[in-house]
Symmetry: C2
Subunit: 546 residues, 2 copies
């Protein structure tokens, strides 16, 4: 059933071949709700870290529907295991591990950023930003080598060809899969929010900077004039980062393997379906495209009962209820002086607190606070006793909060977390506290505001009701479009190829220039004619007078 | 159950109050598939003619789901009956009937247009175009008076208020309902393809003229440079028609009833949900918005068995099969010399022909051709013996053809029909014959090409398969979003209000001007500084030399 994909010469190894459970297959016959679909062969290019959590869920569902999934991973992968019951893997050994595959990378990054923010030194910030750009370039350089390893390994390529995949599922944060799909002439589906260096929409849909906040610019869709100016500058900056820092690494591969007629950016823009991890209870309304399907919150599910011990702790909170705190994968990154302030605030509250915490235990921890290394976050968020969630604003936590209607006190730390929390704040469902400026006073004030002002909870409940009210649940939507692409060998009818035009043509600069030129010529001709007539008349009058 | 809406002083009459069938209500309990919804009260502003066919179908479904539907109609309405089992009506008597409520309007229009096209005289065309613009202005002037009649009739308005409608469903081709919804502060849903003077998307979504064909400009999404120039000119023309011919009639009403702070165009743009009668197997891919739901082809349904006589006729065609011909509501408009050419071609074919024809019987009609005054078009199109459809390209017929996979020989006559057929032609599923230039030769050639070249049928079958493959059938999608708007009292989270910005702000002209000014000032300052330094140096050198 699974044709053998042999190992490459550079130590590529093949993951275990899972046995498709007969029971699952039989169940699927009953569960199949969409149009019938042949079991397909799907090649997956994931991104490591928290992105994988989402991709893995999608793969589990595809496997449960009877599809064969093959995940391309690096030998040094942090989250993506070599073997799993629901997929097999192609393991590629890179000359050097991709830095984001190391957990410490993000933690160190966070510690450094907080330091610089607290110092408030401009040169420090510029230096840090420069280092960040270098890191970004390194990440994509290392990731692009995955493409080289695959293309140069003739045995592996032949085995991939022989497998006759039906499509490629890609997280285009690291877009090597796009090149492999082009080589194999296979349709592609993206599981995407971030792509190369910005938010996915910016690559595929019109994004008027007058009301669409640019990636990394934390503003709402109603901007002041100065915010609009900054928004456009951020847009230029992101475009430059994409053009000069990220894409050149992939351009080199495209030049080498596909020749000068193929442009990497066009390949990137040309996915059949964009499964966008966005929902409009969260994102501000903005232009979109027919081949974008929204699957924001597809990982959310009803909560399960808690363990006996946890249930006892939660119930002991009485009428006051419980506050959750978790900073996701960055859980280790908060300096002790900040955690100490947080602990002091928690100690003053009548609520109980469950805090996912690693590292040194704050000395001033109250009796009401339970420190845990891991918690069943979704099950807790769905528990009626939970009153608020202190979170860093990673997408998964944000969507789980929306799904269960729990208001957030946000301590955004890195990347999109600032924008994420801002979106909930704009809807009156969250309060933000700046980690670099967090004090006992402002944190307490924020927590008490969210606990005591019912508007936060009501707004989040309203968002939750809207979020859950969809023609099709987002996870089913994702599976539907993946199978659609396999059924019809792509989705060309939904995908414009207008991006292949040069920019001046796309924005009609050429047409406007042509029309202005015509207008100018006509005006000049008219003026010339009138001058000529006037001159003639003057000459006549003169000759008469003479 | 239905509160009485009394008649107005100017002879407004109230339609019969239908009894909601108990059986239907019980059935609905079982059929209700979406989230539970309270039976709602829906006010409907339809457009007469073929538009009503679609709206009526939607209303039937809303009624079957237990909602109370009230249709606002004029006393002179052509299609919208005063009483029906599935709705009640508010009938408003206008000082003058809206001209499109008369069937003859379109037929006369067609006859005149064909005459001018055949003459090929430019002055004739300009004169005709001018008359058309006048007619357009008249239509909207007459339609806007519907608003005056409603607003001025205090008893009617009070009764409407007392009914406590939950939402307003509008065909914004004639957009008076938008004003009534604003007055009642009710959420709105559009059932739309054409709005005021153009295609709906142009009012609500970015529409780059470099690849989005403008309304009334029959080109594909891949244009030559000259086509792009024309496309932009058409865009300007449509904007001018909207601004100077259509909207002023409604602006007057808005000024009178809502004051200077409210803009009619903003009300028009502000619908909660746009149920767009478009599908991307038909329309070229283009930018869209989160509050647009696509319901193109929602009227299509599986075919039912034919009557015995018709089945016998169809079966008598043997292996050659049957050709259908119908020009929809314009069936009477084709001059006899053209129908005679068509009849001659049909007479030569081995196929049988079923031709929906009113008026004089062509003298040269073949034995293989059956003339009918009406035909069960959908049931015929779904019959396996039907080989091709000779159609004018009205939307309903086009979508029925797509649904059943029957290729088209298009004889577009008016309005959007040229664009509609062109879209199918671009996908290799139709041939076009210009009615004004139709001859025995070119019509025969087109029919034989579609019959004998299997690519037309294969392409249409492919479109059909894609069209039918949707997460939710389009009619259910329409009902879903109407109920969504009632459940959540609108869909503000999907609707941008960016259109309220002035155009220069929306297109960031202000921001770009500001940035250019800053750049200019900085350059000037730098140049000034350099000149100053140079001058100083020169002076020093000079004084040294002296």
């Amino acid at each position: 059933m699974f044709p053998p994909l042999c190992q490459g010469s550079k130590g590529n190894s093949m993951g275990s071949l899972p046995r498709v459970s007969l029971l699952l297959l039989v169940l699927n016959v009953f569960l199949l709700t969409g149009p019938s679909v042949q079991a397909g062969k799907i090649m997956v290019f994931p991104v490591d870290g928290s992105h994988w959590v989402n991709m893995n869920l999608l793969i589990q569902n595809l496997h449960a529907r009877g599809h064969e999934v093959t995940v391309v991973r690096t030998a040094t992968s942090w989250y993506v295991k070599e073997s799993a019951p629901h997929y097999r893997s192609i393991t590629v050994t890179l000359p050097q591990a991709i830095v984001i595959e190391k957990e410490d990378f993000f933690v160190n990054f966070l510690i450094k950023m907080l330091e610089i923010k607290r110092e408030g030194s401009v040169t420090g910030f510029v230096k840090f930003y420069w280092e960040m750009l270098n890191a970004l370039s390194d990440i994509h350089k290392q990731a692009s080598l995955l493409g080289v390893e695959i293309f140069e390994n003739k045995t592996l390529m032949q085995n991939i060809r022989d497998t006759q995949f039906d499509m490629v599922l890609i997280d285009p944060g690291l877009p090597v899969g796009v090149l492999v799909a082009h080589e194999l002439k296979l349709p592609t589906v993206y599981n995407v929010r971030w792509i190369t260096s910005g938010e996915g929409h910016f690559v595929v849909a019109p994004s008027p900077s007058s009301y669409v906040p640019t990636s990394a610019h934390p503003v709402t869709d109603k901007m002041t004039f100065i915010q609009k100016v900054k928004n456009m500058l951020f847009y230029f900056l992101n475009t430059c980062i994409d053009k000069f820092i990220v894409c050149p690494h992939y351009d080199r591969l495209v030049d080498k393997y596909f020749g000068p007629d193929v442009k990497f950016y066009h390949l990137l823009q040309g996915a059949d379906i964009w499964l966008m991890r966005v929902d409009f209870v969260f994102e501000f309304p903005r232009p979109t495209m027919p081949n974008i399907a929204y699957i924001g919150g597809f990982q959310c599910k009803p909560s399960k009962p808690l363990s006996k011990e946890l249930e006892v702790f939660v119930q002991s909170s009485g009428e006051h209820g419980v506050i959750l705190m978790s900073l996701g994968t960055l859980v280790k990154g908060l300096p002790t002086d900040i955690t100490s302030e947080i602990a002091a605030v928690f100690a003053q509250l009548p609520q109980k607190v469950i805090w996912r915490h690693l590292g040194e235990r704050p000395s001033n921890l109250g009796n009401n606070t339970l420190l845990v290394k891991w918690m069943p976050q979704n099950d807790l968020l769905g528990h009626p006793k939970i009153k608020a969630f202190v979170a860093h604003g990673g997408t998964n936590g944000v969507y789980e909060s929306i799904y269960h209607g729990v208001p957030i006190i946000g301590i955004p730390l890195l990347f999109d977390q600032f924008e994420n929390i801002l979106r909930l704040e704009a809807r009156g469902a969250a309060r933000v506290v700046d980690a670099a400026k967090l004090t006992r006073q402002n944190f307490l004030e924020a927590v008490q505001d969210v606990l005591n002002n019912p508007s936060y909870r009501n707004n989040m409940k309203r968002l939750s009701a809207i979020h859950r009210d969809k023609p099709m649940p987002p996870l089913d939507t994702a599976v539907y479009w993946i199978e659609f692409v396999m059924r019809h060998k792509g989705a060309a009818h939904l995908r414009t190829e207008s991006y292949k035009m040069p920019w001046y043509s796309y924005y009609s600069v050429d047409v406007i220039a042509f029309m202005l030129a015509i207008l100018l010529m006509l005006t000049a001709a008219a003026v010339g004619f009138i001058r000529f007539i006037c001159l003639q008349l003057c000459m006549k009058r003169k000759s008469k007078q003479e």
